[in-house]
Subunit: 308 residues, 2 copies
């Protein structure tokens, strides 16, 4: 059953891999090469789908210095159209809606094949960020321009730790058409469980079916990558930080931690009966970290019950 | 190797059970009966030691209404002396130091057999609580009155979550003579791991040996017991609360959770090489909850490598 049918049916147990498009400054020839190398690296994983992120400069969200400088990246829609047409699975294209004029987004939405593409619409990173369009307007635009195009949203367990209302935000987004949610990178298992649990029981109380929650995992091979994760808003528990700081091989330690966290979260979701997907990304562009992420996806694929 | 030798050697993998003495209003005849029933219930567990709590009215610590009314209990030293002389293992007697005049505490300390008794000195529950003696004074008194009597202290992972300095407090207490630490009931595995991790790496940085950390576990059979745990300052994660609230059999669900949390924490301590002990208590005086606590101790005993 392909990813789109699976999400339509509210079923989980699928595996995604998320990519950030190459920097905008990359030579076109090199972009093609990157796309080819990436596709060749990911094809053996037997993924159910690919995610393409839409990177916005989130400097307004966080006053601290960004550990890695912001580099504008290619538009994920262009990257897909120009270089990944041969990719065999459905692709989930993120749209940071604040970056686009309504007509620009409408044109893109209208042109998408709902049997091949899904989209995740992402609101502005902070309420003060200058934004050309609100999330609600973008959601309404999708409904109007291409209602068959499946819509997803972002879910942030860390926000649930602070405000305890992320499950209610998800249910509001479901009412606005979302059929799945994707988290940012998960390091805090307890926060993720609190979030899943509240979502599960709220769905039950309302007599609604939960939609698939896609949990994102990644490896972290250095203290600089860890600092970047924190800058992005990821809660990394102290004991995990300590372990990475003192490990002989932080990347391997991080790989093991991510595997353990994902395994426990998978078991927890199954216990509750909440459909889930797994998404793996590489936060860093270092080759060893990318390769470890691919290994992580491979190991997690083995845990999924894809016949469900 | 008995508990006292084990603690002296800085070795873990031991099992304790903690009791709250009967209410002071209990008829003497009934106190004897309770002691006999309790000893008979615990003897088959093959415990390494018993803990006797010293209950203070902690109303000053928490302005919220206490879910169960405060009932003064028998002095744990009296309970031991009068009713548990036949108990076969060492006993750890708590002393809420603020309750005692210095001479009163000195007399007790002097009279204890260091081959049979250890003590945990507990400071006032809040800095504003009226107190007849400070923790530092009581520690100095122990050193003076009976230096052979092994001393322990309390450890509070929840405090570490808020202030991130519980590991430093422990090291200061070690310098004041503490040879082991006992936590309050652990429900937040992540907080416990953060605390153990920081303690481990700080010991390493200072070239000091870690002393055994005794983690306390309990079952929680009702929302009222859960409210009481929270009143006592225990962080109970939302997902655990949800699970207990919705379980057909909350006591059984809680038993499974405690077992899982303890198992994971045991594995984590072993990975770090931090010596640990396990303590089981029954927070509630309901018979079914006491029996489930005994079952929990039995299940955890099977996991300990007591030959270490």
């Amino acid at each position: 059953m392909n990813l789109i049918r699976r999400i339509e049916a509210g079923r989980g147990e699928f595996l995604l891999f998320a990519l950030t498009p190459p920097r905008r400054s990359t030579e076109p020839e090199q972009v093609r090469e990157i796309a080819e190398v990436t596709a060749a690296r990911l094809r053996p994983l037997g993924l159910d789908g690919l995610i393409l992120y839409d990177i916005a400069d989130e400097a307004e969200r966080n006053p601290d210095e960004r550990p890695f400088p912001f580099m504008p990246t290619l538009d994920p829609a262009d990257y897909l159209a120009d270089h990944l047409t041969a990719w065999p699975t459905p692709v989930i294209v993120y749209r940071a809606v604040g970056k686009y004029a309504p007509e620009e987004l409408r044109t893109w939405l209208t042109g998408q094949d709902p049997e091949r593409v899904m989209t995740v619409l992402v609101g502005a990173a902070s309420s003060t960020a200058s934004s050309r369009m609100s999330l609600a307007d973008a959601q309404a635009l999708r409904q109007d321009a291409n209602p068959a195009l499946r819509l997803g949203g972002v879910a942030i367990p860390e926000r649930h730790s602070r405000r305890e209302d992320e499950h209610l935000r998800l249910l509001a987004k479901q009412e606005a058409g979302c059929r799945f949610f994707v988290t940012q990178v998960v390091y805090d298992l307890n926060a993720a469980k609190n979030f899943v649990s509240d979502y599960h029981y709220e769905c039950r109380a309302r007599g609604m079916s939960p939609v698939p929650l896609v949990f994102t995992f990644s490896v972290c091979g250095s203290m600089k990558t860890l600092a970047f994760l924190r800058w992005l808003g990821v809660d990394v528990p102290r004991w995990i930080e300590n372990e990475l700081r003192h490990a002989d091989d932080p990347l391997e330690a991080s790989y093991q931690q991510a595997l353990t966290t994902a395994t426990e979260l998978i078991a927890y979701c199954r216990t509750l009966g909440v459909p889930f997907g797994i998404n793996v990304e590489s936060v860093s562009i270092r080759r060893v970290e990318i390769e470890a992420s691919v290994r992580l996806a491979e190991a997690l694929r083995a845990q999924l019950r894809r016949k469900c």
